[in-house]
Symmetry: C2
Subunit: 337 residues, 2 copies
């Protein structure tokens, strides 16, 4: 029999923190962690700030129907990714995270250590080309389920923030990052496929999609580049392409038409997985969330930064169409999306 795993309720806060801190890597803060608050640099004289939470059984499961077990590393990485993405979407460079962990006493300490490692790895990997960011502070508490909340800050480097509301008729709509991969991965996790078999048989396809769900790679260095290139509006695609395009359209008072041919080509990549799961790959592309790519509008004469691809057009009017048609007429249902 293996030895009983050490659980959170067997350690006091100080002992648990002593296992977390070394895994967070060197701090980029001027002060902290360890005092009442951290002090970070804000050279721009303004600060971008956002907050985002992952809740067990709402945003992730420890054990999925497919038999897949979510590691602490993945939850830590995803927390980093989705928070950093919000800073990226403003055209800013991430500067710090503060993280609050709520943990059941029965949580394995090794799982929490793994979360800290994944969090630090996510922050470090995703900001390699974008600034100087680390976890500078946090909070630990007990609860009935795992809740991971991070607040993230960013620096605008003297630029105006790129809001959702600046797109103008005539602008080009462009995108960078994954489209539908995280949704496809979620479908694998929630399917009746046996993940232990999936991994062996088809890891080039299905396991890669699961990784897109669990460990997204938002293009954190491209938000500032888009801002420099003159982006008039931008957001990160966290709730699905059509829905998020609709947010730019509404905030900017414009109409957006998405390129049906291009989207079909993106769906094609997901078709093998969709066949395996009996799903519609175009629905993943149009409606899938959590990819955390960037959707941005640029003036017609702008040079798109490397990585961005033209995905549609901005015109006078309102709402979102795909190749001139309502998304519903091409089979995408908003409420299922």
């Amino acid at each position: 029999m293996p030895p009983e795993a050490l659980t959170v309720d067997q350690l006091d806060e100080k002992a648990l923190l002593a296992r977390i801190f070394p895994r967070l890597g060197p701090t980029t803060a001027l002060v902290g962690p360890g005092d009442d608050a951290a002090v970070i640099a804000a050279p721009d004289g303004r600060m971008v700030i956002s907050i985002d939470t992952l809740v067990q059984d709402a945003d992730f499961r420890l054990l999925w129907p497919s038999g897949y077990r979510t590691t602490g590393y993945n939850v830590g990485w995803k927390c980093a990714a989705q928070n950093l993405s919000d800073i990226n979407a403003m055209g800013a460079v991430p500067t710090s995270l503060v993280v609050s962990l709520t943990l059941p006493g029965s949580t394995d300490v090794a799982w929490v250590e793994d979360l800290a490692t994944g969090l630090a790895a996510g922050v470090q990997s995703l900001t390699l080309n974008a600034g100087h960011c680390s976890v500078v502070g946090g909070d630990l508490g007990r609860g009935s389920q795992i809740v991971v909340t991070a607040a993230v800050t960013g620096d605008l480097e003297g630029r105006a923030p790129v809001l959702r509301s600046g797109a103008r008729p005539g602008d080009v709509l462009a995108h960078t990052g994954a489209l539908g991969a995280a949704a496809a991965g979620l479908a694998v996790l929630e399917s009746s496929l046996d993940y232990s078999i999936v991994r062996e048989e088809e890891n080039q396809v299905l396991a890669g999609l699961v990784a897109s769900q669990n460990r997204p790679h938002p293009p954190v260095h491209l938000g500032p580049r888009a801002a420099i290139a003159g982006a008039t509006a931008m957001l990160d695609v966290s709730d699905g392409l059509v829905r998020d395009a609709g947010r730019i359209a509404r905030a900017s008072g414009v109409a957006i038409d998405l390129d049906a041919g291009y989207l079909a080509s993106r769906a094609e990549v997901l078709a093998p997985a969709a066949v395996r799961l009996g799903a519609d790959p175009l629905a993943w592309v149009l409606g899938g969330g959590e990819d955390h790519g960037l959707l941005a509008a640029f003036p017609p004469d702008a040079v798109l930064p490397e990585g961005f691809v033209r995905i549609g057009d901005v015109a006078a009017g309102e709402g979102v169409t795909v190749g001139g048609q309502a998304p519903s007429t091409i089979g995408w249902d908003h409420f299922a999306g």
Copy 2:
């Protein structure tokens, strides 16, 4: 029969946000809420940041043994108070909060609205003399229990942050704020007293203490004043006077002796409640947390800011004594504290 209360699971996120936003009052942000992230001013070129969480059944109960029901207003207020206090303890002025709410679907919408009202009231009331602060962004999600996390930022106004590590032998130790009141209030809530009777009979005493637990009033304007007056070390008393004094002693490499006579006089105020509950009022003063007063060391020639009272002395050595004695010898037990 009263009509069924509207619960969170009957509203989508947008509809729930539409009930929360108007209660948060005017924003002090340059941008937000409503975009991917908010933009706030950071005129100092540095930013103080901290994060703190309240969890149902760990940090508060909706229904206490005494029959007292915790309102959303109180939870919102307390979230504001404990977060603002961390900024205060650095000698900084609060500038913004971002707040994440995790809510069971069965939560009454009216309770959530009340939380937003209490949060805004707490921020506004507690920062009346300290800057220009509001809730600038947030996140909403579902979970099995109520979890309220806020990250808070502050501005140092050009000053050095006051850390825990700067106290020197010869310094005066001073305190401002409540001492033991929140712990006494917690004891009332957890007692077998019937709160509905408590409220009628003794509201000048016991109900006031309950309010200290539920709606603390940290002296948010006094942290910056202490910094200006030359404080060498400071923290907010969130985990008990002896324990928090020990943190300054350890971080600064000094010994702290607390004034036994003064502490006895503070315990005297709590004696009627202690008699009613069969408790030791000095244990509340020495060990009670959540009052969020400030404990600070000042050079011997400093003029203490109005509101601060001398509470002890800093000397060479280590550890915390009360009137020269170990706290345990005067009846205070660290583990019960």
